[in-house]
């Protein structure tokens, strides 16, 4: 089978779509990591919750999409805040391994509850603006993919604005650089951590909502998405928001190319192969700082 | 004069734009106590780090008993017979004092993971022997009653003495001590001075970095003064004490003790 340039372009387009999702998840990781130094393995569950709550509330209460999405974002954000208060904060000073176990436990718990509430079935969500594919330079892309890519762009810009121009955003940045000094300046660390968890959960939910029409949504999609988002975050350099977005897009494209050109069976392994290769060449990630001192 | 044990030549190191060590060279003769002194930022600890392979030198050479050290990893340098203690005394805090000293015996041991796990080829005997010799080492250093204490709970003075005992357990030919008296009170400093001299008398050559001038002046056979990464002066304490360049480098920097 000959691979044409158009096919490669097609792979890149679909890679950018999944890559955008990874980028949003990576952004969530970075938010929480910067505020607390914790890798939140439950980040992927926020994505699942976003999609599932939207689908379920449209079904149960016949809400319009926008309202259902709003419900999903608000509820997921609340769940993020509860997770922080109930599970992360009581163990803030525990070791890396203990925090990993706690967040993995949280992710298993959330998934379990979702399984009970919504059952094991996949739920479809209608595409936001139709299914008619759009052709760009010979490659096709669905309107929903454009929604995904566009949403990621909007969220990234919004984050940048928040961190650059709002007082709360600046305070969160200050906490990430030096929590102690920030506290001395009167910034309330505890509130900043809540903000970070809330934002991370909200961003995760948004990713889940825009993704749902493409992949369908199910109670157990969170784990793999979360792990790949984590890959993206590490690729871009942990805690580097912009790096995470770049890492996510890169990972998505490489995964799509690998699946298309090499083997689709091993698709799920590709992200991790890329990750390991990059870590070995540059231990702190592509856009990371000096040392990989986690 | 004894033979040259250690010869350093043209050692340089730059961090970013800052030249921390600039073309430094010196010799250490066997059986000497040699001191490196200089104001803060003179590059003393950096030199220690370069000589023990903790940092990579930009250029220069360091010959120890005719073997080149620069480029070797830290543990290989240790294996050649160079011991080191740290400004902050890095003890293994999860272990007892006895176990700390037993790690000091590492280089003299032969047990591998396989022989140790299976207790074959004398691994069991070796373990018993090192337990005994470590105890003797502590006994000789007057630290025997600390043997069972957790290293983490020792006060700074005892930490330093344990660290020295641990370094000596490896039976080095040269011991590099980074500010052995930092944080010690007067009595402890005197005790440390005595220990360092005993170490020299037992045949181990000593290279120290130290801020305490009276300690340096009283025990050193030779002093190398560094300033801003460069060699400023070198000679016996009596010469250094009256060296004008040294005095001006230190003026305002450290007036104590001289």
């Amino acid at each position: 089978m000959d691979i044409t340039a158009v096919q490669v372009w097609q792979f890149i387009l679909s890679g950018l779509t999944t890559g955008s999702i990874y980028a949003l998840i990576a952004l969530g990781f970075s938010l929480v990591y910067n505020a607390t130094g914790v890798i939140n393995f439950a980040q992927g569950e926020f994505v699942m919750l976003g999609g599932m709550i939207t689908a379920a509330s449209m079904e149960a209460w016949e809400l319009p999409l926008w309202a259902a999405a709003l419900v999903a974002i608000v509820l997921t954000t609340l769940i993020g805040l509860i997770l922080d208060r109930a599970a992360i904060r009581p163990a803030r000073h525990a070791s890396v391994v203990v925090l990993i176990i706690i967040t993995v436990g949280a992710s298993i718990f959330i998934r379990g509850v979702a399984g009970i509430i919504w059952g094991p079935d996949e739920r479809p969500l209608t595409a936001f603006s139709g299914e008619a594919p759009i052709t760009i330079w010979g490659g096709t892309i669905t309107p929903q993919s454009l929604w995904v890519i566009g949403t990621t762009l909007v969220v990234a810009i919004a984050m940048w604005l928040i961190f650059e121009y709002t007082v709360a955003g600046k305070a969160m940045r200050a906490c990430a650089i030096n929590a102690h000094a920030a506290q001395l300046c009167g910034i309330e660390l505890s509130r900043m951590i809540s903000w970070s968890f809330g934002l991370a959960a909200g961003v995760g939910a948004i990713a889940g909502i825009v993704l749902a029409p493409i992949t369908m949504t199910q109670y157990n999609i969170g784990t793999m998405l979360g792990l790949k988002g984590f890959c993206a975050a590490i690729l871009g350099g942990l805690g580097n928001g912009l790096g995470g977005i770049a890492g996510g897009l890169l990972l998505g494209v490489l995964e799509a190319l690998g699946a298309g050109l090499i083997s689709s069976q091993y698709k799920d392994a590709i992200a991790f192969v890329v990750l390991i290769v990059v870590l070995l060449i540059k231990p702190s990630g592509l856009l990371g700082g000096e040392e990989a001192e986690g | 004069m004894n033979e040259v044990l250690f010869r350093v030549n043209g050692l340089s190191k730059t961090f970013g734009g800052l030249q921390a060590v600039r073309n430094v060279g010196f010799e250490v003769r066997e059986g000497q106590i040699k001191a490196l002194i200089g104001p803060n930022g003179a590059g003393k600890t950096t030199i220690f780090n370069l000589l023990t392979g903790v940092l990579a030198a930009d250029s220069g050479s360091a010959e120890f008993e005719g073997r080149e050290l620069i480029g070797l990893p830290t543990h290989r340098i240790a294996a050649l017979g160079i011991g080191r203690t740290f400004q902050t005394s890095l003890l293994f805090d999860q272990m007892t004092v006895l176990e700390n000293v037993m790690v000091g015996h590492h280089l003299r041991g032969r047990a591998t993971m396989l022989t140790a796990a299976l207790r074959i080829l004398g691994a069991g005997r070796e373990e018993n022997e090192y337990r005994r010799t470590a105890m003797e080492t502590l006994d000789r250093a007057g630290l025997a009653d600390l043997a069972g204490r957790s290293a983490a709970e020792l006060p700074i003075g005892q930490r330093r003495m344990v660290e020295v005992a641990r370094a000596l357990a490896a039976e080095p030919r040269l011991l590099m001590m980074d500010e052995p008296a930092a944080g010690l009170n007067m009595r402890e400093t005197e005790q440390m001075a005595e220990t360092i001299q005993q170490i020299r008398d037992s045949g181990v050559t000593v290279l120290i970095v130290e801020h305490d001038m009276s300690l340096v002046m009283s025990i050193s056979d030779e002093i190398l003064v560094l300033d801003q990464g460069q060699r400023l002066a070198e000679g016996p304490p009596s010469e250094i004490r009256n060296d004008r360049r040294v005095l001006s480098a230190y003026l305002g920097e450290e007036a104590d003790g001289c």
């Binding site: 890798i39 599970a87 009581p90 163990a91 890396v96 391994v97 203990v98 176990i101 993995v104 436990g105 298993i108 718990f109 379990g112 399984g115 009970i116 784990t223 792990l227 984590f230 069976q265 091993y266 799920d268 392994a269 991790f272 990750l275 390991i276 870590l279 070995l280 231990p283 702190s284 040392e291 990989a292 986690g294 | 023990t52 392979g53 903790v54 990893p73 830290t74 543990h75 240790a78 890095l90 003890l91 293994f92 999860q94 272990m95 006895l98 176990e99 790690v103 000091g104 590492h106 280089l107 993971m113 140790a116 796990a117 691994a123 373990e127 090192y130 337990r131 043997a147 370094a167 490896a170």
Partner: protein, 349 residues
């Protein structure tokens, strides 16, 4: 967990620490003999094949957790992908015996060698990384192996599973599926032997080198410890333990392999066994293996609700006892000592 204040007595009366150190080693050996002695008697107390079955799993988990403990508790390195080595051991044995008709012992050896080679190739570069980066790299390795097991269907049978694995033989005697009791003793004999090797290893030159580099790599290096080399060796040995457990699993009474037990969740469960019991101690991971296996088995009948409880338990246990059960017990004992004046004099090693 010695009492903090030791009565000040004359030096002559203070027992030599070297002797105490040796005595602790002897006490540890006695504990090992006692524990595995009890485990040898346990089957006589239970007539139920199901319980025996669970005990076999506990034995396997004990081997896995003990191996991982060497890496985590002693060398201080994290692995989030240890199920991969369990899987390589299981599948290599399974494939060599079922598909190629090898003798199970030969297959076990080959699986062990393969696992060690893979672990060395993986460990050598990744163990330069620290913290989250090492965690992520090992997690990646775990997932890659899991995907390969699932997708390389020609070799592994994929999701459908690998069948036709023969029984383990022992001096010409087949340890067949209807005789769980024999397999119980076979697995627990391995567990006992590997525990003894582990105890010997950690109380020796290389074991101390690992603990030393865990505390301060720099201080260990200046004493001549090749820290990079020792980390890799610890990694390979812990993978070897996992491989042996994998082979034992493959030949256990089910004699069927599917990809599920060798994924991310097993890696996490192993991590929990080590941390929950108390890493860096001989008995912590043993306790962890019992606890987690029993929790998993107890929850198994409650389909759907099991993972909720399991996730909740992980969170709660780790929040309450971040240092593991053995440390929690230690502080409890200290607490009781503080309350009961009569116990204060007790000076236990």
């Amino acid at each position: 967990m010695a009492a903090r204040e030791r009565p000040h007595t004359d030096e002559a009366i203070v027992p030599n620490e070297a002797e105490r150190h040796a005595a602790r080693r002897r006490a540890e050996k006695l504990q090992i003999v006692a524990f595995f002695g009890i485990m040898a008697l346990v089957p006589f107390g239970i007539g139920n094949d199901y319980y025996l079955h669970i005990l076999i799993y506990i034995g396997l988990h004990l081997i896995l957790a003990t191996g991982l403990n060497l890496l985590m508790g002693y060398a201080g390195q994290v692995s989030l992908g240890h199920a991969a080595f369990y899987g390589i051991g299981a599948y290599a044995s399974g494939i060599l015996t079922a598909t190629y008709g090898w003798n199970p012992w030969l297959a076990m050896l080959a699986a062990l060698l393969l696992t060690c080679v893979v672990a060395w190739l993986v460990g050598k570069p990744t163990l330069r990384l620290r913290g989250h980066y090492l965690a992520m790299a090992t997690l990646g390795v775990g997932i890659i192996v899991a995907v390969v097991i699932r997708q390389w269907t020609d070799l592994t049978g994929g999701s459908a599973g690998l069948t036709g694995i023969p029984s383990m033989t022992f001096f010409g005697h087949e340890l067949t599926s209807d005789q769980d009791l024999q397999y119980y003793y076979f697995v627990w004999a391995w567990a006992a032997a590997l525990t003894v090797l582990f105890a010997n290893l950690v109380a020796s030159r290389p074991g101390r080198a690992l603990r030393a580099l865990h505390d301060s790599e720099l201080a260990a290096q200046v004493l001549g410890v090749d820290t990079a080399g020792f980390k890799v060796r610890a990694f390979v040995i812990s993978a070897a333990y996992a491989s042996i457990a994998g082979t034992l699993y493959a030949h256990s009474s089910m004699r069927f392999l599917s990809p599920t037990p060798f994924g991310f969740h097993t890696s996490i469960a192993l991590l929990v066994m080590v941390v929950l019991g108390g890493q860096g101690t001989l008995w912590g991971p043993v306790l962890g293996a019992f606890t987690i296996t029993l929790i998993e088995e107890t929850l198994r009948p409650y389909a759907d609700y099991d993972i909720i409880v399991y996730g909740l338990l992980l969170m709660v246990l780790m929040i309450v006892m971040p240092g593991g059960v053995s440390r929690a017990l230690g502080s409890l004992i200290d607490l009781v000592r503080g309350w009961v004046p009569a116990l204060r004099g007790g000076d236990e090693p």
